[in-house]
């Protein structure tokens, strides 16, 4: 192992934080120093002597039969060590997060543009690239199944997965579906109870996570026949669980260590190059590194499901909601990925944070020959929020009501019931969040006297000097679940070790949590300090030597793995105090650990932790399970399906150049209840980052797919917000503790991504009077659409 690779393992190993900050403080990141020095080893920085470079051949067609694959010319390229196809896979040929329907390398057919068919290992990335080009594949190109109509008519257009090869519970080209009915459902009788009914069809484009660190990692074959993989992922253990059967290895011989992760946002929940690098390493007996280019990254991970939604809401004359009916069609693409969970969220959260007595919902995910879609920040809830929040604005307009007041009138609160029948049993300050965001001061109007073009739509392109610019303001609120739902026990494990090092008590925290940038490592150290009364905390590298930490997704990691660290630290604390009782015969009932001492709250300091510990280390591991949930009933959608709910409200202020169709978001305000901010600096950072990804979905981000082919797989053509596109994002935090959660905390990361997009579109509608039923809103929508009914 070279020094660089070992350095990669040490990203967090020897960092002692002298800070006394426990929970509620904002100590600085333990990995910050390495990150600003350029010394933090990301997965693409891994290096090993004699390592080879791996690369995949990917399909140029979204749907085709593979008639033959000829690797002979590729093998002749000097410097090439291996060329592999599915025939070289030693074990199972399929994998998948929830449904094992995806071949590790295509078998006889390809189902999406970019599907991996063959692998090359070579001594230089350029050698690998040239060898990939020499692999000859003979295709029988088929018409791709890409529209909803085509997918739902398999008799005419065909099956993405033939019925006999079905592994999901779906049928036809439906991967997963969830229905929901509550109250009286939505019937003609129920409709008759409403004075006003509004309906609309809404569409959400395919968004990409666009994390900056490309998929990458280093697979090193081990002497025991196993493999060591240094990898950027969101969940080490679920990677291993999917990899081991394909590699035909027992799980304990597939050892994963987390390398530095350059962002994730759901895009690393599925496997990308993990199996490929390991197959090449197994085959060649040499370390193999794979680093995706940006265009390959667009083909190498799943995206946010594009959605088509139909909503109908009815209300009384005074604005009380009577019913809501909704159908959500999500395009899941070629393979299942997280589609079932996305459907579950869309169905159960798709009516928003409102009390609605009568509800009907039908959500489905399609199989198609479009790119696979799966987890992305706010999965399922993001798409629906654009639908129900647009409906709220439309309903307010129809009733002649203020849109915020209409929302507040129908806002759910603690004690209310979700359409699933689940009672909200912790704070749900929806109306208060809206009030607070409305009460925040507005930014000053555009100063056309002293105009700086960098502040207006078009900015540095110098497209306007203030002519034709109209300001608009919009509001929205959203709901997201925290943690894995529908009966899944996504427990987390933590190991905490307390010992004396250099004359001081030092706690070590060891979990398999994927630190993807969110700051979980900072919070773990804070929890250990708070529970154990120590200053020095070391964070062990995340790996599979300790039990699963579950995924860094679904806003769950501080709740779940933070909760596990708390449990393990409490156990260590109890063991230390028990040791003292045995040694000193203490009878106090108020013993705790503070400032490196064992302290009785009534009798004062009893002994220093250093003296009590001596040479002994207390090393304990605990699992944290959240309260159990149940699957939703397939037909009625009823069930205690979610662990926790989280809410965020936004106000957007935009300037629109109505002549050119350009939008400048002037300010995007967020108010969110976080239960307890364990690290306020990080919490605000999460909310601002989440809002910005929502801004991207509102006005610029979309993977353009035509006939199944991806047209903009680059950062030149897929635009994400720059610092010029992003406005000031004032954030206000509420801390209303959830009695069911560790420290009362509420998951933070996703709610703003759910709620912020509709506020921006509402602001653009407010400025232009256009209907804007599709996101992202593009310049051509603003210049060619006719003013519609709001």
């Amino acid at each position: 192992m070279s020094t660089r690779t070992i350095q990669g393992q040490k990203n967090l190993q020897n960092i002692n934080q002298a800070s006394k900050d426990g929970i509620g403080g904002s100590p600085l990141r333990p990995d910050g120093n390495l990150k600003v020095k350029g010394e933090f080893a990301y997965s693409s920085d891994m290096w090993h002597e004699d390592m080879l470079w791996g690369m995949a051949l990917r399909s140029p067609h979204p749907r085709a039969n593979i008639l033959s694959v000829d690797i002979s010319e590729a093998l002749k390229v000097p410097g090439v060590y291996a060329v592999l196809t599915h025939e070289d896979i030693p074990g199972s040929k399929y994998y998948g997060l929830e449904i094992q329907d995806q071949p590790a390398l295509a078998i006889d057919k390809v189902r999406y543009h970019g599907e991996a068919i063959a692998l090359v290992a070579a001594d230089h990335p350029e050698t690998a690239r040239r060898a990939v080009k020499k692999i000859k594949v003979e295709y029988e190109v088929l018409t791709p199944i890409v529209t909803e109509e085509q997918c739902l008519d398999p008799e005419t257009h065909g099956y993405v997965h033939e019925p006999h090869e079905y592994k999901s519970h779906g049928y036809g080209n439906i991967c997963h579906e969830q229905k929901l009915v509550s109250g009286l459902g939505v019937t003609d009788e129920v409709r008759a109870l409403a004075d006003v009914i509004v309906s609309g069809d809404y569409e959400v484009g395919m968004q990409d996570q666009a994390f900056l660190g490309p998929e990458s990692g280093l697979a090193v074959p081990a002497e025991d026949g196993g493999i060591d993989l240094y990898i950027a992922t969101q969940w080490l253990h679920v990677d291993r669980q999917q990899m081991a059967p394909v590699l035909d290895l027992p799980e304990e011989k597939v050892r994963l260590t987390l390398a530095g992760v350059g962002g994730a946002f759901g895009g690393r929940e599925d496997l990308s190059m993990q199996i490929h690098a390991c197959l090449l390493a197994q085959h060649t007996g040499k370390p193999v590194k794979i680093v995706y280019s940006r265009d390959e990254s667009f083909f190498g991970h799943v995206h946010r499901h594009p959605a088509k939604m139909h909503y109908e809401h009815g209300a009384t004359r005074d604005g009380k909601l009577v019913f809501a009916d909704c159908r959500i069609v999500l395009d899941g693409g070629a393979y299942a990925s997280a589609s079932p969970a996305v459907v579950g969220n869309a169905a159960s959260l798709g009516h928003g944070p409102y009390v609605i007595p009568n509800v009907k919902m039908h959500a489905i995910a399609l199989y198609s020959n479009n790119p696979s879609c799966g987890a992305m920040r706010g999965f399922g809830a993001v798409q629906a929020a654009f639908g129900y929040e647009t409906q709220m604005d439309r309903l307010a307009a129809a009733l002649g009501m203020d849109p915020v007041e209409l929302r507040q009138l129908n806002a759910m609160a603690e004690g209310d019931f979700m359409p699933t029948g689940q009672q909200i049993d912790s704070p749900a300050p929806v109306a208060e969040l809206l009030q607070r965001v409305k009460d925040m001061p507005l930014p000053p109007p555009l100063d056309t006297e002293h105009l700086d073009v960098r502040q207006i739509p078009g900015a540095l392109s110098n497209t306007s000097h203030g002519e034709g610019i109209v300001r608009g303001v919009g509001y929205s609120v959203g709901i997201k679940n925290v943690g894995f739902s529908e009966g899944f026990d996504d427990y987390s494990t933590a190991r905490v070790r307390l010992e004396v090092i250099g004359g001081e008590p030092v706690a070590m925290v060891h979990t398999a949590m994927a630190e993807v940038g969110q700051g979980g490592v900072t919070v773990h150290a804070q929890i250990a300090r708070t529970e154990l009364g120590v200053e020095q905390v070391t964070i062990h590298p995340a790996n599979t030597e300790v039990g699963s930490a579950g995924s860094t997704s679904a806003s769950r990691q501080t709740y779940m793995t933070g909760g596990a660290v708390k449990l393990a630290a409490e156990a260590v604390k109890r063991a230390l105090i028990e040791k003292g009782r045995r040694r000193y015969g203490w009878t106090h009932h108020d013993i705790t650990l503070v400032g490196g001492k064992v302290v009785s709250e009534s009798a004062g300091p009893l002994v220093s932790m250093v003296d009590l510990l001596g040479d002994e280390a207390i090393d304990l591991t605990r699992e944290h399970h959240h309260r159990p949930t149940v699957p939703f009933d397939k037909e009625t959608g009823q069930g205690f399906g979610h662990v926790q709910y989280t809410f965020c409200a936004n106000r957007a202020v935009v300037d629109v150049d109505v002549e050119l169709g350009l939008v400048k978001v002037v300010e995007l305000t967020a108010v969110q209840d976080v239960g307890k901010a364990l690290n306020p600096l990080s919490v605000v950072g999460q909310i601002q980052g989440g809002c910005t990804q929502a801004l991207g979905l509102a006005v610029m981000e979309e993977i353009i797919v035509r006939d199944g082919k991806v047209r903009n797989a680059s950062f030149t053509d897929y635009l994400i917000p720059t610092i010029l596109d992003t406005p000031p994002i004032p954030v206000e935090i509420l801390e209303l503790p959830d009695p069911h959660a560790p420290y009362g905390l509420r998951g933070v990361g996703e709610a703003p991504t759910v709620s912020a997009t509709p506020s921006i579109v509402a602001a653009i509608r407010n400025a232009t009077g256009l209907a804007l039923n599709r996101i992202p809103v593009r310049p051509e929508h603003l210049t060619t659409e006719r003013p519609g009914e709001l």
Partner: protein, 162 residues
């Protein structure tokens, strides 16, 4: 081919460089300076920004052969000889401007260049100067804070030394 240049004040030499390799590749894979990041490798994201003869450039867009006998300064070169963090580096940590950190090296070099040319930039100046550096985690607010903090510290330092 062989390429020799100066990296962070030290002479470096890379052998067997393929003519199509970028400066970024040579830095990361051949001379042990992986701090500059490979996020897009097409000049859109700014993560690979380095100084080339004092001018910030995307090292992914510079062919390795172009740096022959020239001076390159990377994020690793923003730290002084004793390992002390530079002013901009410290400000990014203090302001919470680092999350995943993949954009950070490029932003640090670009910010360093901005404050060299204008120690007290306006918010609009900051946004213009950093508009070629993508960040996906932070929403840029803490990055704005970090640049303002670095600017304030730099001006305070100048005032003190005068």
């Amino acid at each position: 081919m062989r390429v020799t240049f100066t990296a962070n004040g030290k002479p470096v030499e890379a052998d067997d460089v393929w003519e199509g390799e970028s400066l970024l590749y040579v830095l990361r894979e051949r001379v042990g300076l992986p701090g500059s990041k490979n996020a897009c490798e097409q000049g859109e994201c700014g993560s690979c920004t380095v100084y080339l003869d004092g001018v910030p450039v995307c090292s992914c867009l510079v062919a390795a052969g172009q740096v022959q006998d020239r001076e390159v300064r990377t994020v690793e070169g923003l730290t002084d000889e004793n390992g002390e963090l530079g002013l901009v580096q410290q400000a990014f940590i203090d302001a919470g401007a680092v999350q995943c950190g993949f954009c950070t090296p490029g932003l640090l070099v670009q910010t360093d260049a901005l404050l060299e040319s204008d120690a007290q930039p306006s918010d609009n100046d900051i946004r213009e100067a950093l508009s070629g550096n993508l960040c996906r985690c932070t929403g840029y607010e803490k990055i704005m804070d970090a640049v303002r903090l670095a600017s304030a510290r730099k001006c305070a330092g100048k005032a003190e030394s005068e």
